[in-house]
Symmetry: C2
Subunit: 188 residues, 2 copies
């Protein structure tokens, strides 16, 4: 698919077919996405792949529990606007996708957010070029229980930047609206 | 160009033809890149386009001056490894590119780095699809003099996330090396 067509047609997918993504496909997409640029070519990204729905359900429950606890402690928490849906027992933050990739890196690495975001962008685009859907799940970063972190292989010194679900899209939504670009100044 | 071919062939370009990029082309690329996803579709990105080499030279000098001052105050500054080149009067942090786009946004916006990085990724890819070269210039974020900020239209409450140069590539470098993906765990 042509690049510009892909940028136009890519959507965040929250509704998936009941069909597994082969681990080899996911690792191929990860390998290709490592072509993303990073600050000083530092490539700080590391990966955990969860290709099992039962584990993803537990990670969703953990994230929901921690976010609700954040809200209880701080009513100004940015998670506050999600409170109702987080209280819904049926809601899975990973939308019942078949697979989840955690993009993580050293907690104190200076450009970690930027570098992992560039990786994530490549990941979402090259997945879309293969007919796969993805969605960056901001609510999925809140895994804190040490046993669970250990179980899924996230080292203590690392931080989750991007939890990205991936699977075969069932419904492709309409594009979400975009604002006009806010051009503050053109010096020419 | 096919997406996967583009991801493979895109390079960070630091050597440009002496040829201006029409402002309309730059604004077209910005508009297209606003299709990037952002947290909660918040689209916090705003833009300043500097399409004048003389201004870019002054912005380079300002960044160099501020980075050298950071190093003098803190020898552990991450800029320390660039000290020699920053002292070189001939060095322009923007590599004499013809045009510079500052991607900026509200200083305290929670997901600003992530959102602007996703925008920057789209920008670099769609520019490459048009035969244009780009490079994210980390050293170019250090504009602090209030008069200069005002002159180029960056509001006080905003922060520069991504200074991206753009122009017609003169030399396309070999790919910089990539590590094997660091797969910490696959749960399947």
């Amino acid at each position: 698919m042509e690049v510009q067509e892909l940028l136009k047609n890519r959507r965040s997918i929250r509704d998936y077919e009941e069909k597994e993504v082969p681990v080899e496909t996911v690792t191929d997409i990860i390998r290709e996405s490592c072509l993303a640029p990073s600050s000083g070519n530092g490539q700080p990204w590391q990966f955990v792949v969860i290709n099992r729905k039962e584990t993803m359900k537990r990670l969703s429950d953990e994230s929901k529990k921690n976010l609700l606890s954040d809200i209880a402690q701080n009513p100004d928490s940015p998670a506050k606007k999600y409170e109702d849906i987080l209280r819904n027992k049926e809601f899975n933050v990973f939308y019942n996708a078949p697979c989840l990739v955690y993009v993580i890196g050293p907690r104190d690495y200076r450009s970690l957010d930027v570098d992992c975001s560039l990786f994530a962008c490549y990941f979402m685009l090259t997945a879309a070029a293969r007919g796969l859907g993805t969605c960056w799940i901001g609510l999925g970063t809140n895994v804190r229980t040490p046993e669970l972190m250990r179980e899924i292989g996230i080292p203590k010194g690392c931080r989750i930047v991007a939890p990205i679900i991936i699977g075969y899209p069932k419904n492709i939504p309409e594009p979400s609206p975009r604002n006009e670009p806010k051009m503050l100044k053109i010096v020419s």
